[in-house]
């Protein structure tokens, strides 16, 4: 059978850096191809070439056997190739109907808006995938899951032959992911070719017919059928086997909890949250997006303080009304989104590292002691093995894994008693993940209490000794990690 899309020898470089080197790739109609690869391996560049955003330097693209040269985005859409970008590419200020229908009405060269027609186009597209969204709702007001549906519906306003999904599940909760994967399988059954890009190996095993992996801009191989196992995929991605080191807590049973939370409540956020955190412990918080897990963390950090309840640090009652009180009490928080909440991208690596402690770096006077600052920067760059030649280089120039080390390092400089990590390895590749876990384990072994909030069940199971299951703003269950498994935890979280 002739493949729907066939790439031969695609190469592309930017300013002398090879993004893609001689890549071959095929996708058949009615097939789900999972494209994997660590950050910077060339996946995004490949998509841009296939969708006509950028031309390749060399190599050929064939769609249904036909040579396609220097195609624009519009031409690729006419070939039936559509991309759903990770950021969804929606206009948050427009309605659902407009977001779905506008691409088509523009393509057809309409000059006037007929609102009835817009709604009808949108409705037809929604009917095709069984989505039920109010066409007059403003997209920005919808939850991310529904926004994703809107983006998919938009692809269905034209004759769809190949759908490329770029990390579609990154910001979805468990139920939404299940729904999306079912939808992808359904599209496959209708003969649509699908390229599915993701970091999450369990999803790959779930939906893929075939996995192709890019590493450093090269296609390093494919797996199909029986070969699709967790270990084989990891091996393909990293070129070696990665064995996760599980966390073993070393807790002194005579010690008092470093953090005690009693009946913490914040209207419209969470209610009656009660737990203890002991020194040397990693407490996992498992829950879906919107379960209240992030809100609890933000309250403990004073970012959006709780309405009532009691927080004790080292046995003493500690009111937390703002970030400074939390920090003074020894609490640190590594936020969910590295780029928007964690880092000052344009500023130097060194300045990022000391941004939490700058007030403590003044010398005898009121000015910053540059020598102490430089010494501290050098110390932490060394301690965290951050790969940077010059600490005055902007943090933007680092890789995702190194950036995340800077975010964590920012807080280690304060030597916190309680460290809260919210999704610490999102968008970090497998090798870098292992290193970040090592840092966190060591911190716990040195006597800090760690709270780990994460989407990924394996991450929590491997890196905690106790787990709180959060749902509907309440702690539903508390369990010992060794009594459960990643599969079981996954089921418990998904069941909610």
């Amino acid at each position: 059978m002739q493949p729907f899309l066939q790439l031969d020898g695609i190469s592309k470089s930017f300013a002398g850096v090879h993004a893609l080197v001689d890549v071959d790739l095929t996708v058949n109609s009615g097939e789900i191809l999972c494209l994997m690869g660590e950050n910077g391996s060339g996946k995004s560049t490949l998509i841009k070439i296939v969708s006509g955003v950028q031309p390749q330097d060399s190599g050929t693209i064939r769609v249904e056997g036909q040579d396609v040269r220097d195609a624009t985005t519009a031409e690729m859409i006419r070939h039936g190739i559509q991309v759903i970008y990770q950021d969804l590419s929606l206009m948050p200020n427009l309605t659902v109907a407009e977001n779905i229908a506008m691409a088509r009405t523009i393509r057809e060269g309409r000059r006037l808006v007929r609102w009835g027609e817009m709604r009808q186009i949108a409705q037809e597209a929604m009917d095709r995938i069984g989505a039920k969204i109010d066409p007059d709702a403003t997209v920005g007001d919808l939850p991310v899951g529904l926004q994703q549906m809107v983006a998919i519906c938009r692809a269905f306003t034209s004759d769809l032959r190949l759908l490329i999904l770029d990390e579609p599940t990154a910001s979805l909760n468990r139920t939404e992911i299940e729904h999306l994967l079912a939808l992808v399988r359904e599209m496959k059954d209708r003969g649509i070719a699908i390229i599915f890009i993701t970091h999450k190996i369990d999803e790959v095993i779930d939906v893929a017919d075939r996995v192709t992996c890019l590493r450093d801009g090269r296609n390093v191989g494919s797996l199909t059928g029986e070969e699709l196992t967790y270990d084989r995929i990891v091996e393909l991605m990293t070129g070696r086997e990665v064995v996760p080191v599980p966390f073993v807590a070393r807790i002194d049973p005579t010690q008092a909890p470093v953090l005690s939370v009693r009946n913490l409540t914040k209207r419209h956020n969470f209610a009656d949250v009660t737990f203890d955190l002991y020194p040397g412990e990693i407490l996992g918080i498992a829950g879906l997006l919107g379960s209240g897990r992030t809100e609890i963390a933000k309250a403990l950090f004073g970012f959006s303080p709780a309405d009532s309840g009691e927080i004790r640090i080292g046995g003493k009652v500690q009111p937390i009304r703002n970030v400074r009180e939390a920090v003074a009490a020894g609490i640190a928080y590594v936020p969910e989104n590295r780029l928007t909440e964690g880092l000052f991208l344009q500023k130097a690596v060194g300045d990022n590292l000391v941004s939490n402690v700058i007030d403590d770096l003044t010398g005898r006077g009121v000015l910053i002691d540059e020598d102490r600052k430089a010494a501290m920067v050098a110390e932490w760059i060394g301690a965290l093995s951050i790969k940077v030649a010059d600490p005055s280089a902007p943090v933007r120039s680092l890789s995702g894994g190194n950036q995340q080390r800077v975010v964590i390092g920012k807080w280690l400089t304060r030597r916190p008693k309680v460290l809260i990590l919210n999704g610490p390895t999102v968008g970090v590749d497998i090798a870098a993940k292992a290193y970040i876990y090592e840092i966190v384990h060591n911190l716990a072994h040195e006597g800090a209490g760690v709270i780990l909030i994460s989407d990924e069940a394996p991450e929590i199971v491997n890196n905690s000794n106790r787990i709180l299951l959060v749902r509907g703003g309440r702690v539903q269950r508390e369990l010992e990690t060794r009594q459960t498994s990643a599969q079981e935890l996954h089921r418990m979280v998904a069941a909610s």
């Binding site: 950021d87 948050p92 200020n93 703003g473």
Partner: protein, 336 residues
């Protein structure tokens, strides 16, 4: 949509309260004669405001060059009509619209090509246009505008005689303003072009991906602003019956403030013609109220400043409160 309605609703309430207050102090406020006057004096800023609204919806920082464009087009049109010894008002409008559109288009082209924020580019073109006008005109004031301006500015609809014998009626300027608003509304609401402006204001990268020709849209918006500035320039000349090279500049910040008070977002993608109209009317009524209350016109800037600060504060407070009460998590067992 609810949010727009809300900010417009509050504006209506605010305007109503101010009207009630002014009327209670001076009943002359609520006479047809006075209200016609308010509308007439608000028209020039009203026409500018529609253009500013388009730029704000498109996103990025506001355009500040429109008064300079109005100034230049007004001066050129008046000179042209003087040169041919009369002509008619349609010719004046045609000259002003074409010239204004070209001058505005330059802003659009520079912004599109060089990717620089609107306010920086338009500060530059403001200085360029305004300075060149002064240099070339040597600052000469044209006190005598040709007949057509008098005719256009003096025509009154529904004319009737007032108590003191003076004839009053609805000037053509508010009619022109209304026409501009209808055109603006139609473009924004009923054309793909208008929706593309909103799309770019919402997310320009996404707009490109769904096939919006961002260059064409941006070029249109800035040409449109320029053309409206031209129309406003002619309207202004018909109102004050002279062309003075510095008689319009200085309104830019007030107009922008009116549009923002009317609910347009400085971050793009949001704004309505109705809200814009209410913002302009609010300022016009305030100005009129000061006169009727016998308060020195020196207080006008103070009043406007306070109105802007209070308006923004109320709006900001609303948003902060909404954020506090936002439901982040549907907490089990919590009363909604």
């Amino acid at each position: 949509m609810k949010l727009f309605q809300r900010s417009e609703f509050y504006l209506v309430v605010l305007i109503a309260l101010i009207c009630i207050f002014i009327t209670s102090q001076n009943p002359n406020f609520l006479t047809l004669q006075n209200l016609y006057g308010v509308l007439r004096s608000a028209s020039v800023n009203g026409i500018f405001a529609v253009g500013v609204l388009f730029v704000l919806i498109l996103g990025g920082t506001p355009d500040v060059s429109f008064p300079a464009i109005a100034q230049v087009t007004q001066y050129v049109a008046v000179l042209a009509l003087i040169a041919i010894g009369g002509g008619n008002i349609a010719l004046a409008f045609a000259i002003a619209i074409v010239l204004g559109a070209v001058m505005g288009a330059l802003n659009g082209i520079i912004i599109q090509i060089f990717r620089v924020t609107t306010i920086v580019v338009t500060i530059a073109t403001f200085n360029l246009y305004f300075g060149m006008l002064y240099v070339l005109s040597r600052g000469d004031v044209l006190f005598e505008v040709p007949r057509p301006f008098h005719d256009f500015g003096g025509t009154l609809l529904f004319a009737r005689e007032g108590a003191n014998g003076a004839v009053y009626g609805l000037s053509l300027l508010p009619v022109l303003w209304l026409a501009v608003m209808i055109v603006g509304w139609f473009i924004l609401r009923r054309t793909m072009l208008g929706r593309s402006i909103f799309a770019m204001g919402g997310d320009e990268v996404s707009a490109v991906r769904i096939g919006v020709n961002t260059f064409a849209v941006r070029l249109f918006v800035f040409s449109f602003v320029g053309a409206l500035a031209g129309i406003a320039g002619i309207a202004h000349a018909s109102l004050v019956l002279s062309a003075i090279p510095n008689s319009i500049v200085g309104v830019e910040l007030e107009v922008i403030a009116a549009v923002v008070l009317g609910g347009a977002s400085l971050f793009g993608g949001k704004g309505t013609v109705t809200g814009t109209m209410l913002g302009v009317l609010l300022f016009a009524i305030l100005r009129n109220g000061l006169v009727l209350l016998n308060i020195s016109s020196y207080w006008y800037d103070v009043t406007i400043g306070i109105a802007i600060i209070l308006g923004m504060s109320a709006n900001a407070w609303q948003q902060l409160r909404a954020r506090r009460n936002q439901v982040n998590v549907a907490v089990e067992g919590e009363a909604p």
